[in-house]
């Protein structure tokens, strides 16, 4: 949608703040208001009012509203969704509770497993059975389906999930059960596994379907209220929703598949990273977003975020893999770790400094907030190290108490380890920076990226504080801090295409493929995805992208291989096997000889075509730059020498294009501060972005 001119509003509802951004041909206005938990649309409308007033506009002037939200995620985490029943194959009511039958932490006998979203008494068995090949082994007992209705009514069920075994191979029984229920209970929202996540592996498919059913009534009602609130003010423009996959969708589709909105907030930061990659002509970007509680890391190649189909929500045990609920939806591939400004530092049994995932949140907050918090946090460490100026925090609206930071760090870290206050602060800073760098490294290897060639795009309130130190750790030479970095996700929403991903599970042995059958499937997928996208694309040209999830025959995990979105020829299919071999070699050093190749899952994404008319920024290092007037100085801790170095301080709003700032320096704006270590120089480009470069070897003192 980025090619459409006009006036656009975007809103990102997060756990603490609701960010609203208004984009007009004259520029961007942004505001943060507190999230209203009882009626999230109220907070959103308040923010909308603020930015419209500032611009002297009314809602009638707005051509498009885009919205992303963590409401679905919060509903899953807080367990306050709809009263949900699961209708499933007789003999399999315990799939969602047995899960993988393992312990997510081997060395703790006292783990507690997450409770399923549906009570065991509301998992209702139906005699029926499909084979793995999609043949009927036992016909569905339709009378048994009708017989659950009294139970649903008695239990006050508000939403129903249907998950039959092997329904990914044949959805007929799920369709028949849904038809019977809709007839007997008109208006009951029903989520089918064959719609929501038609992929093999019953546990993941069940969880995804149940999660969808669980958040559906709440999300549907919220979206309808929001639509009404906008309409009541006189808005007639479309409202589109951000999905976790990075595309926009309509309110109607979002209401049917709300689970696809689960990670929509962080997706905005990744999309902004992608946009900046195109503007600044960056082949590889590491989008790095850091807020109050978590940091997110996402890789972007050739201006497009990496996407995946697996995600885990609500990890219950120190963010540990496997302690949450697996969700199979299209998501922008990212890692999220418990590293934010509020993350609490402590010492473990081995006298090692650990940071997070517990967060002090906004109440009591870091010790320096002086609101009763006594635990040292990352923000406290930043205050002591001089990365944050306690007298000028949040645009001067808040004064921080550095002595509280110091005593919290001394008491909980320094004394036990025999470290002076600055070194205790440095230990916390180093550990959190290393945690984030490590997450980035592990993730890079998982998806086969060379991290040193990436440029960091830093968004969120915390990232610009930590980005240069992260870059030093990762061997990265360039960082971009865009305008409005503090509300990066909401800005990112404005750059997203309207898009929809369709997935099919169909096993194809590449040695003898039925090409006609594949082509029929691809055309079906194209029709389905196009129909959804056209509801919100308003006639914009569309493009399609296809992937096959492939593996060597006998393997259990797939690599995603791109193929052309057209009627496939024999050569195209042969190329598919070759691309797989190449990609396998790239990821794992050598391909495996004399084993066949198979494709299991096929995806197609249809989206509004990105325009090539994107304006690219001039490289600011190529022209003369001048050193701006500094606002003063500040002492900032230097990681190499353990000394405090005198750093120049600049006000970002007073910078203009063509300027140059040498580290060590701090560039302050209302929602964040960019720290330059002595190894980096910042240039301002013609978009106003900070384009930060590593000084050439020897230049650093």
């Amino acid at each position: 949608m980025s090619d459409k001119g006009g006036i656009k509003l975007s809103a990102d509802i997060g756990g603490t703040f609701t960010d609203v951004v208004l984009e007009t041909p004259q520029g961007i206005r942004a505001t943060k208001v507190l999230t209203d938990y009882d009626a999230p649309e109220r907070g959103l409308m308040e923010g909308v009012g603020i930015v419209l007033d500032q611009a002297g506009l009314t809602i009638k002037d707005v051509d498009l509203v885009i919205h992303g939200t963590t409401l679905a995620t919060n509903t899953l985490i807080q367990r306050n969704g709809a009263k949900t029943a699961l209708i499933t194959t007789d003999g399999f009511v315990d799939v969602i509770e047995m899960a993988m039958e393992n312990r997510f932490e081997q060395y703790d006998i006292n783990i507690v497993k997450p409770k399923p979203l549906v009570d065991r008494t509301l998992r209702l068995p139906i005699p029926e059975r499909m084979s793995a090949q999609g043949d009927v082994l036992m016909d569905i007992d339709e009378a048994a389906v009708a017989a659950v209705v009294p139970t649903l009514k008695a239990a006050g069920i508000e939403s129903v999930a249907i998950m039959f075994l092997n329904a990914y191979a044949n959805r007929e029984h799920e369709d028949r059960a849904a038809a019977i229920l809709s007839k007997l209970m008109p208006g009951m929202p029903i989520s089918l596994s064959s719609d929501v996540a038609p992929e093999i592996r019953e546990y993941e498919r069940s969880c995804t379907t149940v999660a969808n059913a669980y958040v559906r009534p709440m999300m549907e009602s919220y979206l309808m209220r929001l639509k009404a609130a906008l309409r009541d003010l006189g808005s007639t423009c479309p409202l589109l929703l951000m999905t976790s996959g990075g595309g926009l969708t309509t309110v109607e589709t979002a209401s049917l598949y709300p689970v696809r909105l689960v990670e929509s907030g962080p997706a905005g930061g990744a999309i902004l990273g992608a946009e900046i990659a195109r503007e600044c002509d960056l082949p590889s970007v590491l989008a790095y977003d850091m807020g109050g509680t978590t940091a997110k890391i996402c890789f972007i190649d050739d201006g497009r975020p990496t996407t995946s189909r697996a995600f885990e929500v609500d990890r219950q045990y120190r963010f540990l893999k496997g302690s949450g609920m697996p969700i199979r939806i299209p998501v922008i591939e990212m890692v999220e770790i418990g590293a934010g400004g509020g993350s609490i530092a402590h010492i473990d049994e081995l006298a090692r400094v650990k940071v997070g995932p517990q967060s002090a949140g906004s109440e009591p907050g870091p010790a320096c907030y002086d609101l009763g918090g006594t635990e040292p946090t990352v923000t406290d460490s930043n205050v002591i190290m001089g990365r944050i100026d306690p007298s000028n925090f949040a645009g001067g609206r808040m004064t921080l108490d550095a002595s509280k930071s110091g005593s919290a760090l001394d008491e909980k870290i320094g004394t036990a380890l025999g470290l002076e206050t600055p070194m205790a602060a440095f230990a916390v800073g180093e550990v959190v920076d290393e945690n984030m760098a490590n997450a980035a490294r592990v993730h890079a290897i998982e998806i086969g990226k060379n991290i040193a060639t990436c440029t960091i795009v830093a968004t969120g309130g915390g990232a610009p504080l930590h980005a240069t130190r992260m870059a030093e750790k990762l061997g990265i030479d360039r960082i971009i801090v865009p305008n409005n970095a503090g509300v990066g996700s909401a800005v990112g929403f404005l750059r997203a295409p309207v898009a929809y991903e369709v997935v099919r599970s169909r096993h194809v042995n590449l040695a003898h493929p039925n090409i006609a059958e594949i082509n029929t499937m691809i055309e079906d997928m194209r029709a389905e995805a196009t129909a959804v996208v056209e509801q919100g694309s308003f006639g914009a040209p569309l493009e399609a992208e296809c992937f096959a999830l492939m593996r060597y025959i006998g393997q259990g995990h797939e690599l995603s291989v791109s193929f052309p979105a057209r009627t496939l020829t024999e050569d195209d299919v042969a190329d598919l096997a070759k691309s797989f071999d190449r990609q396998y070699e790239k990821n794992y050093s050598r391909s495996v000889p004399s084993v066949g190749t198979e494709a299991l899952t096929w995806t197609m994404t249809v989206r509004t075509a990105s325009t090539d008319s994107i304006r690219t920024a001039e490289d600011p290092t190529k022209s003369e730059s001048v050193v701006p007037q500094s606002q003063g100085t500040r002492e900032i801790f230097d990681a190499d020498t353990g000394q405090f170095l005198t750093a120049q301080v600049y006000n970002r709003t007073e910078l203009s294009a063509g300027q140059k700032i040498e580290g060590p320096a701090a560039i302050v704006e209302d929602q964040t501060t960019t720290i330059l270590t002595k190894r980096f120089t910042a240039y301002t480009n013609d978009f106003g972005y900070l384009d930060i470069r590593r000084k050439t070897e020897g230049a650093a003192q």
Binding site: F92, I109, I200, A427, V442, G642
Partner: protein, 577 residues
């Protein structure tokens, strides 16, 4: 740079490099899982991965993996170094074995070791293990009489030289196993994951300008050993004994253990344990050490990362010829049946040290039925296609001192179950039922975890074979501190045939196999369980109305509504009798 800063910085960097090393081996394990062919690796995660110094001491292990592999593999690398001294190793080489006594306890486990070089200097070794789908011989079964019947036996050999795979070795493997593409494919993924780990280690060394990791390694080992010693020292000195009788194959097996805590050391000895079996449930000492030390480490110093320092605090011995130290040519294929009982035996000792430390006994040995069809399965004419598929199923864990046991959860194994839809896609079987089993968890103040009911048929109703390697069918998981035993396991068919808990047997055409996995033992007296917790168990179907009354003295209706007065009366009556 000031001295204080330099020593402070060293302290911080040393921790960061340690964390990095743990991240490196985790990545190594994930690569193994993502590239593996056999379902036990790729779905169940029956793997381990770790990094060693050039003296063969384990510095870090992946969190992903299973204890029997990890702790056994910790010793395995030493055997490789004995045969291939570090100074003779060259870049581009990898070594392998499936020697049960020098690897991880049976021929199905392939262990691969890869040296890592910085320039021409060896700096570390990466090792990994996975359970491959087949090694020829009798298959995955307890029926072998000697290890020679159990399949292809690969001594410590070169698997790759100059970055090229050893084609002769691969051809031998290829010719000897039932699923050659999968097994050879797994060898590729084992090498790939070690190389992956090696590359990341070299990156880290470049970043920190390290020429060797020996200093870092020594520090890791020393810090971990000290932390583990501190944890041991916090326990009272003493000698604690415990014994447990399990089903065995031809006759019951008694495992006898003596655990000695003295200062900062723990010693375990298995003197008094039954002699070896004539069948394939014997345990090589490496696997005994692995699970015995896991049973202690899971509650003592359990936050200390696993490495040669933390493991070194525990010494495990067993007299030769006992089933816990079986010698060649004993058959060892199903060594997990006995080996996975050892943590319960250890926890029974530790309960005597401190009753709040250890849970009751659980199902413990994973129930991994191997189902086979086709040629040689049955005398019947009706035969389907050839297939072999292994499912991993669990029973309940023992109740904890403050918590119920976990329903159908693996302990001590770290593996996951294979999804039913995956098993059905791999083989012509249909799983008709896989649900919790009512009344299977042992009664107690805290209830033992529930087992499950599994029902499997051939898709075309042809006969099929099961290789059974199950335990706790005759001897249930015992409760602790007054808790009741868990429900025994059962192996039978829908048509009413009772099958043996061990050995290959046939399920006739049209019949269905039923498995009841064992429940975990309860903790504390059942009459002291909160009545509303019993009511909740009734409501959810874990406990029947009758069991609530008889075992717990709780009078409840089917919906879990507890009759408080009747319950008080019933409990008073239980008290008197």
């Amino acid at each position: 740079m000031s001295d204080t800063f330099s020593s402070s910085l060293n302290k911080i960097q040393m921790q960061i490099m340690w964390d990095r090393l743990i991240a490196v081996v985790e990545e190594q394990a994930q690569t193994l899982i993502r590239t593996a062919f056999s379902s036990s690796t790729r779905e169940a995660g029956d793997v381990s991965a770790g990094v060693y110094n050039t003296r063969g001491q384990m510095l870090a292990q992946a969190v992903t993996g299973t204890p029997g592999h990890v702790n056994a593999m910790a010793e395995s690398v030493g055997h490789f170094l004995d045969k291939f001294p570090i100074e003779t190793m060259k870049p581009g080489e990898s070594y392998m074995t499936n020697d049960p006594w020098k690897g991880t306890g049976h021929l199905h486990d392939f262990t691969v070791v890869t040296p890592v070089f910085r320039g021409t200097e060896p700096v570390a070794l990466f090792a990994c293990t996975t359970h491959v789908v087949d090694v020829g011989g009798l298959g995955f079964t307890a029926d072998g009489r000697q290890v020679f019947e159990e399949g292809l036996y690969i001594p410590l050999m070169r698997l790759a030289s100059d970055g090229q795979m050893n084609a002769d070795l691969l051809e031998m493997v290829n010719a000897n196993v039932r699923e050659p593409a999968q097994v050879v494919g797994d060898l590729y993924s084992l090498v790939a994951c070690n190389e992956d780990g090696g590359r990341r280690l070299i990156d880290m060394m470049a970043e920190y300008q390290l020429e060797t990791i020996d200093g870092l390694g020594d520090k890791i080992i020393e810090t971990s050993r000290t932390a583990m010693q501190d944890a041991v020292r916090a326990l009272p000195d003493g000698v604690y004994t415990n014994s447990m009788t399990t089903d065995g194959y031809e006759s019951p097996i008694t495992i006898m253990a003596t655990l000695t805590i003295k200062g900062d050391q723990v010693g375990v000895d298995f003197a008094g344990t039954s002699g070896v079996s004539s069948f394939g449930i014997n345990v090589p000492l490496c696997y005994t050490k692995a699970y015995a030390s896991f049973g202690i480490r899971v509650v003592v110093g359990n936050r200390v990362p696993n490495n040669s320092g933390s493991l070194g605090v525990i010494t495990v011995t067993a007299p030769e010829g006992t089933i816990t130290n079986a010698q060649p040519p004993c058959a060892v294929c199903a060594r997990h049946v006995i080996g996975q009982m050892l943590p319960d035996v250890m926890l029974g000792c530790l309960h005597q040290v401190d009753p709040t430390l250890a849970p009751a006994e659980g199902a413990s040995s994973v129930w991994a039925p191997v189902l086979m069809g086709g040629h040689g399965t049955s005398a019947s004419d009706k035969r389907g296609e050839n297939f072999t598929v292994t499912m991993f199923n669990t029973g309940g864990t023992g109740a904890r001192p403050m918590l119920d046991g976990l329903n159908t959860t693996g302990f001590p194994t770290g593996i996951r179950s294979v999804p039913v839809e995956i098993s059905e896609a791999l083989a012509p079987i249909v799983v008709w039922r896989k649900v919790y089993l009512e009344n299977s968890g042992g009664a107690g103040k805290y209830r033992g975890g529930a087992g499950q009911h599994i029902e499997v048929a051939h898709r075309e109703e042809a006969p099929f074979a099961i290789s059974a390697m199950f335990d706790r069918v005759d001897h249930p998981a015992r409760g602790q501190a007054g808790g009741a035993s868990g429900h025994r396991g059962r192996v039978f068919t829908v048509n009413g045939e009772t099958l043996r808990s061990k050995g290959k047997q046939t399920v006739e055409a049209g019949d269905r196999l039923v498995l009841h996995t064992p429940g975990g033992g309860g903790y504390g007296q059942a009459q002291t369980r909160a009545p509303e917790a019993v009511g909740e168990d009734v409501r959810l179907g874990f406990v029947s109305v009758e069991e609530a009354r008889d075992a717990y003295g709780v009078i409840s209706d089917k919906l879990g509504n507890v009759d408080v007065q009747a319950t008080e009366a019933a409990r008073a009556k239980m008290e008197r009798t």
